[in-house]
């Protein structure tokens, strides 16, 4: 879905018309709409007002308090870890599956197609409870066979997150494979590249925008998931969305705004760096 490499284009006669100005104004308004809550959120992480609803002066107190809040910091760390591992695993598997779906005709492909859309349309709460039942069921079987008692932990969350992220990656990567010129792979084979080399040197670089798009989507989904995380996490592993959900129920304090601001900054750094490195690698 995300195709970052669009060729330059000029639209003859459309450049500076009224239409373009209206589009520009619309875009500005939409960006204001998108950023209004973000600005409020960031701003109010510095307010002195403990209700977090009024601007009563600038302070770093909430950040100091946040850094001393080991529970919250650990939750943030766990959440980032889950999101990262999920993103990597789901992106690799999803990309491979997307290639299989686009390049091969095989029996059961139609069914698999349907299966891949199910994790997208399934309501989160249903998937969460289904996974809870599944883990309890399979742990029971494992215990009765091997005598080993398993418990949910951070890895059960990761497994669950991967399960719903794969589909999103597949959808995005397939879109980028649809516009792929198969002749390029033939040309590489013709020049003596074996299938593996073709994949790494030609196919992957060319679908990279789609792969990155899928990875970003997986990262966002995992980072923000609350319900599935709640039901599949084990004792003592705190996750940020769960922690935040619990805390805002009582009161949204500027400390919550502060952790959100921090996560925003970290995520942006991550994206910026990945883009930077990718551009470097392309050069």
């Amino acid at each position: 879905m995300i195709d970052f490499s669009v060729s330059n284009r000029t639209v003859g006669g459309e450049r500076h018309t009224v239409g373009r100005r209206v589009l520009g104004a619309h875009a500005w308004l939409t960006y204001i709409f998108l950023y209004a809550p973000i600005v409020v959120l960031v701003l109010f992480s510095f307010t002195k007002d403990s209700f977090g609803v009024r601007w009563t002066g600038f302070t770093f107190d909430w950040y100091v308090r946040l850094f001393n809040d080991t529970r919250m910091m650990r939750a943030a760390g766990n959440t980032l870890w889950v999101a990262l591992v999920t993103t990597i695993v789901a992106t690799v598997m999803g990309t491979l599956m997307a290639i299989a779906m686009e390049r091969y005709r095989f029996r059961g492909r139609g069914g698999l197609d349907a299966l891949l859309y199910l994790p997208i349309v399934i309501p989160e709460i249903v998937m969460a409870l289904a996974l809870l039942a599944f883990f309890s069921f399979s742990f029971g079987i494992i215990e009765s066979i091997t005598g080993v008692t398993l418990r949910m932990n951070i890895w059960t969350v990761i497994m669950s997150h991967v399960a719903f992220c794969i589909s999103f990656v597949v959808v995005v990567v397939r879109a980028s494979l649809k516009g792929f010129d198969m002749r390029l792979e033939e040309a590489a084979a013709d020049l003596g590249a074996d299938p593996r080399t073709i994949f790494w040197r030609v196919t992957l670089p060319l679908i990279m925008p789609g792969v990155i798009g899928g990875a970003l989507l997986a990262f966002t989904l995992s980072l923000d998931d609350f319900i599935i995380s709640f039901f599949t996490v084990g004792p003592g592993t705190n996750l940020l969305p769960v922690e935040v959900y619990g805390r805002v129920k009582r009161a949204v304090t500027p400390a919550i705004n502060a952790i959100s601001t921090l996560m925003l900054v970290l995520s942006m750094l991550l994206i910026f760096l990945s883009q930077f490195v990718q551009r470097r690698a392309n050069r």
Binding site: S50, F51, V53, T70, M73, R74, A76, G77, N78, L80, W81, L84, L129, L132, A133, F135, S136, F139, G140, T149, L150, R151, M152, N153, I154, W200, L204, F230, F231, G234, P235, G236, T237, N238, V242, E243, Y245, G246, R247, V248, K249, R250, A251, V252, T253, L266, L269, L270, L273, S274, V277, Q278, A281
Partner: protein, 382 residues
């Protein structure tokens, strides 16, 4: 080049994690308690039988975190706390098995659900000498006669909290929020709980029924009443009623006593209280409920769990906890240790007196009350 890319990404994330001081997996084991040479002290606790960790599953913000530190300091047991926001969420996880928790805090009816399903361990009362501090009238309740499985932790009542500076006089009836004339006057300025048992329950009492009435006629009347009320309600809200009452966004609300107390007194350093907030149980009657400490069936640390529950039942600990949470303590000997302002509020109606107790009712929640779901869905779907 791919490798560099991945390596850098991983490095960045690890860097961030390190900066956050977080470890990806669950927390490490706390300092060992083996150093404690004495196997028992005069408090009767056999320290050699204590585990290093205790996993407690509790409602969000339902315990003073310093109590956990105090407990660890005294016994060397690290308490690992996770939170839930509904009995049903907690039961779902416990029922699935292997939840890994030792202690949970189900509400009254949920205690019954859990022990009937075999999810709980019987409590060894000999390990709980502090049970003697619990108010006798709050023991042996319908959901756990003889307190074989549960120890009262906190209780509360459901009534109306209001802002005295706006609602003058002394309101004493559910009609304040149920009667169209009154509700329309405060349109968009009050909330009722987002709870399929509490709201129809209040309506039932207002209509002169028991909280546990399930006859079709009564349900029909309740549904009509609540649908009529809906357009005036600002929100169905069970969560931040405290803050919204304190900040003046709501002038009144159906609320749990603890929420009302927090609106009046403020909540830690998170927000300031509003001295104009008052609370009452309407003359038609209200709901009483209680959260209880239980030990889960598959808890490997039952002994430590008993010690922890007994610790929470110490009057001074219960008092500290109650000051923090704002709900009502069933610990009769803790009351005199409470913060004087809290005690004053108890006297003002935030806690039931002998007169109020008579019109409080426990809410049954079992298959017969499934009809409340339909009423609520109908109201919500309107």
């Amino acid at each position: 080049m791919k490798g560099i890319y991945r390596g850098l990404l991983a490095l960045l994330v690890f860097g961030l994690l390190a900066a956050c001081g977080a470890t990806p997996a669950a927390e490490e084991a706390p300092a060992s308690n083996e150093a404690t040479g004495e196997t028992s002290t005069n408090d009767g606790v056999d320290r050699s039988k204590l585990s290093k960790e205790l996993y407690v599953y509790n409602w969000t913000d339902y315990i003073d975190p310093t109590i956990l530190d105090d407990f660890e300091a005294e016994y060397g047991v690290k308490v690992i706390l996770d939170n839930y926001d509904a009995n049903e969420d907690m039961i779902a996880k416990v029922r699935a098995g292997g939840s890994g928790y030792d202690i949970a805090a189900p509400s009254d009816y949920a205690v019954e659900t859990m022990w009937r399903e075999g999810l709980l361990q019987e409590i060894d009362q000999s390990l709980l000498p502090n049970l003697k501090h619990i108010e006798p009238s709050l023991l042996n309740k319908y959901f756990d006669e003889g307190n074989k499985y549960s120890v009262p932790y906190m209780y509360g009542i459901t009534g109306i909290a209001y802002n005295k500076s706006i609602i003058t006089g002394t309101p004493d009836s559910w009609s304040l929020i149920m009667d169209a004339a009154s509700a329309s006057q405060y349109k968009g300025q009050f909330s009722v709980l987002d709870d399929e048992r509490e709201v129809p329950g209040a309506a039932l009492r207002y209509l002169g029924y028991s909280l546990n009435e399930t006859s079709p006629e009564a349900m029909q009347k309740v549904q009509e009443l609540l649908i009529a009320q809906k357009e005036f309600v600002a929100a169905y809200n069970s969560s931040d009623v405290n803050r919204k009452l304190a900040s003046g966004e709501y002038v009144m609300a159906q609320a749990w006593s603890g929420q009302a107390m927090q609106a009046r007194n403020g909540l830690g350093d998170e927000f300031a209280g509003n001295p104009d907030i008052a609370f009452f149980i309407p003359k038609e009657g209200g709901m009483i409920w209680m959260d209880n400490m239980v030990i889960l069936k598959d808890s490997p640390n039952a002994y430590t769990a008993h010690v922890f529950i007994n610790y929470l039942s110490r009057p001074e600990v219960a008092a500290k906890n109650t000051d923090y949470i704002g709900y009502l303590t069933p610990n009769k000997d803790a009351i005199e240790l409470l913060d004087p302002t809290v005690r004053a509020l108890y006297a003002e109606g935030f806690a039931p007196d002998a007169e109020v107790v008579k019109r409080l009712e426990w809410a049954v929640r079992n298959e017969t009350t499934a009809v409340f779901s339909d009423v609520w869905t109908a109201v919500k779907g309107e």
